[in-house]
């Protein structure tokens, strides 16, 4: 595999997006999107559907025009440059394989367009096909391939031209769960081996967490937070990121911070160093807290359901109109309708301002 990779690597380039905006008529699809991707980085754009992540990717690809702002790939301003001059390759969610061309012709299409000599072209196609383990299937048509094989053809076609940037639009979402896991690992391996700058769009946080060097979380056309998977998960910048990341997501309780104490329905918790906030929200991850005897924790609530998922147990509490989920080891058991306590270490609590949704940080 390594023998071929040298043939397929190119000089990785960085990407700088500076205040990109996109308007569809009166609809503001992307708002002041600024981002810097370092050469060789694997960056994931993550968000719910309709958050503008695909629009951002398509603008970087040149398939959508940029309403305002500038886009730089390498040292070159490509804001108004046609897709084919941007030195990029893209993998589509639908794979976009040409149904009337064989696997070999599909992989070789970018080379054919570039008018590469025939023998060199055949060698390069074979190298790319070997990389994704498709060398035996070069004469098949896409309709004769399985979903995973089609996916590999799309990947091979993307890397055959040695682009300096890979763009991927939910490339794994049409695969079944098991295959998705395999392809995820292969994709990650391949990207680190080729070292090509990659921007990857997904709504699946597991993909984002496992693949990315850095994750950019988006909502309603706005960038919410940009950071390593660990930062985005354990140090969320606002309520949306906190609620979007994690499965099950973070628990929230509304209350008030006064005199360095958080007070909510049935709970008081030290909030050392935090300024007084009349409308605050406490957030804590299901795995950061534990179920304890009634009265032993900071909060008592009736157990709503108890679920065993195999490797862990999920206990859902009902606190007022909110559900609180606690992750416990799989040997833990509790009966529904029992009242139990939740113990939560002060250090793992996050506080948010309800009005702005932003994280409140303690004065150090």
């Amino acid at each position: 595999m390594n023998a071929h990779s040298s043939e397929l690597t190119a000089v990785a380039k960085g990407i700088t997006a500076d205040k990109l905006n996109k308007f569809y008529g009166g609809f503001h699809a992307l708002k002041d999107f600024s981002l810097e991707v370092v050469p060789g980085e694997f960056l994931v754009l993550l968000g719910p559907s309709g958050c503008g992540k695909s629009t951002a990717l398509r603008m970087i690809a040149g398939l959508e025009s940029i309403s305002s702002g500038t886009l730089t790939i390498g040292d070159r301003d490509v804001t108004d440059v046609l897709p084919k001059y941007r030195d990029i390759a893209m993998v589509f969610q639908s794979y976009a394989l040409y149904p009337h061309k064989t696997v070999g012709e599909n992989i070789g299409f970018p080379l054919k367009v570039a008018k590469m000599p025939k023998d060199e072209m055949e060698r390069t196609i074979l190298a790319a096909a070997n990389q994704v383990e498709l060398a035996d299937l070069l004469d098949r048509l896409p309709s004769q391939l399985s979903g995973g094989q089609r996916q590999r053809v799309a990947l091979a076609r993307a890397m055959v031209r040695r682009p300096s940037v890979f763009l991927m639009d939910e490339p794994l979402s049409n695969l079944d769960a098991k295959l998705r896991g395999n392809m995820r690992a292969e994709l990650k391996h391949m990207q680190s081996e080729l070292g090509i700058t990659t921007i990857y769009v997904t709504h699946d946080q597991i993909e984002a967490m496992t693949l990315a060097h850095r994750v950019a979380v988006m909502r309603d056309g706005e960038l919410q937070q940009l950071g390593t998977p660990k930062q985005v998960y354990s140090d969320p910048a606002n309520l949306f990121v906190a609620g979007f990341m994690g499965s099950p997501p973070m628990n929230f309780l509304d209350g008030e911070i006064k005199d360095e104490m958080f007070a909510g329905p049935g709970i008081t918790l030290a909030a050392k160093g935090y300024a007084d906030t009349a409308y605050a929200t406490l957030g804590f991850r299901p795995e950061d807290c534990t179920v304890v005897e009634k009265g032993a924790g900071q909060l008592d609530a009736p157990v709503y359901t108890f679920e065993m998922t195999g490797d862990q147990s999920l206990v859902t509490f009902r606190a007022g109109d909110k559900s609180l989920v606690v992750k416990m080891p799989n040997d833990f058991e509790v009966a529904a309708d029992e009242t139990a306590g939740i113990s939560l270490p002060t250090s793992s609590a996050c506080f948010f301002d309800q009005a702005t949704g932003l994280r409140i940080r303690p004065a150090s």
Partner: protein, 349 residues
């Protein structure tokens, strides 16, 4: 769990091999009867072309050599005695059908492609302003005898000077669906309605009884069908394919040639066949526009109905037989391109 069984829906046919013998017998007898019903006129046409006038008039006779002695006299009449007329009508039909089909498929599919890929938003008021100027110019020239070129110059100048201002008065934007409906609505009126205006138009430009008149007319009449069919076809080609080709470096023309054209071959074949058959068989418009030089086969056949020698059933049969041969050949040739499932594998896993 039991093995998954396939559920048949109410109208899903069983395989013929799975039917009971009685059901098979009934099915095949019905099919045989139906084929007889469909094929009999063609058989009748064929034997009539070999009958003498006496055999036709004293008939009905069904079996050659049994009921009547076949004769080649009708074939000789048409291909030796009247060779010039037959050949002219035949070549006219071919030239007109091929050219008009090529023109309407070329222009119509380009229109369909752009309608399926580009969002147009013409302003209704601007269009109405254009139509008003057109009508005004026609009235000025036709009724008040204004100078043609002067009126045209004034109308064009007025349009370009005021189009933007007029368009801003009231904005109603049309969409692609409206344009498409307008195009297909051209086929709602019966052709007889426009025959007289078309006749007068070609008369005034001295193009009556020429190939070009029939070619233009058929191309225009067929255009809506081409646009309508091809729009559906182009819309079914995923845009991802073209975008992917674009990113891979292909120019627009290359994308069209390498991706869009091969994928729309089935649609183009079906549309071509349909349009060609229409042009080949068309009678009404040809009757008005062509008199002798540009006369097509349907006119020739119909003329045999009204000669001074009475109705010549035998020569008519010969003419009809030679007329349907090219259409059958075309259908057989194009049939292999009209296959479904070409897009399977393009998208989805």
């Amino acid at each position: 769990m039991s093995a998954p069984t396939r559920r048949y829906s109410l109208f899903e046919p069983n395989k013929i091999g799975e039917l009971s013998p009685a059901a098979k017998f009934i099915l095949y007898s019905f099919l045989a009867a139906w084929s007889l019903f469909v094929l009999f006129p063609i058989y009748w046409l064929l034997i009539t072309s070999f009958k003498t006038p006496a055999a036709v008039n004293n008939g009905p006779f069904f079996l050659p050599w049994v009921d009547f002695q076949p004769s080649l006299h009708a074939w000789r009449d048409l291909f030796i005695l009247d060779f010039e007329d037959t050949f002219r009508a035949y070549s006219n039909s071919i030239i007109i059908a091929v050219s008009s089909t090529a023109l309407s498929v070329l222009v119509g599919s380009m229109a369909a492609y752009s309608l399926s890929r580009i969002e147009f938003a013409p302003n209704l008021i601007t269009i109405l302003y254009f139509v008003a100027l057109l009508i005004g110019s026609c009235v000025a020239i036709g009724v008040y005898g204004a100078d043609l070129w002067l009126t045209l110059a004034v109308a064009v100048a007025l349009f370009f000077l005021l189009a933007r201002a007029v368009g801003k008065l009231y904005t109603v934007r049309l969409k692609n669906g409206d344009i498409l409906f307008w195009i297909i609505s051209q086929r709602i009126l019966a052709p007889i309605v426009v025959v007289v205006p078309i006749y007068m138009m070609f008369q005034s430009v001295r193009l009556l009884d020429t190939h070009i008149a029939l070619i233009l007319t058929y191309a225009v009449v067929n255009m809506p069908i081409v646009v309508w069919l091809m729009y559906d076809f182009f819309s079914s080609i995923p845009r991802d394919l073209e975008e992917s080709a674009q990113i891979d470096g292909a120019t627009m023309i290359m994308t069209f040639r390498e991706i869009v054209l091969p994928l729309s071959r089935a649609g183009l074949s079906a549309t071509t066949l349909l349009v060609m058959i229409f042009a080949w068989n068309e009678y009404l418009l040809a009757l008005f526009i062509s008199t002798s030089n540009a006369q097509t086969l349907p006119i020739l056949v119909a003329a045999m109905n009204a000669g001074e020698r009475g109705i010549l059933w035998w020569t008519m049969s010969v003419a009809i037989i030679v007329m349907i041969i090219p259409v059958v050949v075309l259908a057989v040739v194009l049939q292999k391109y009209i296959t479904k499932g070409l897009l399977v594998g393009a998208v989805k896993g």
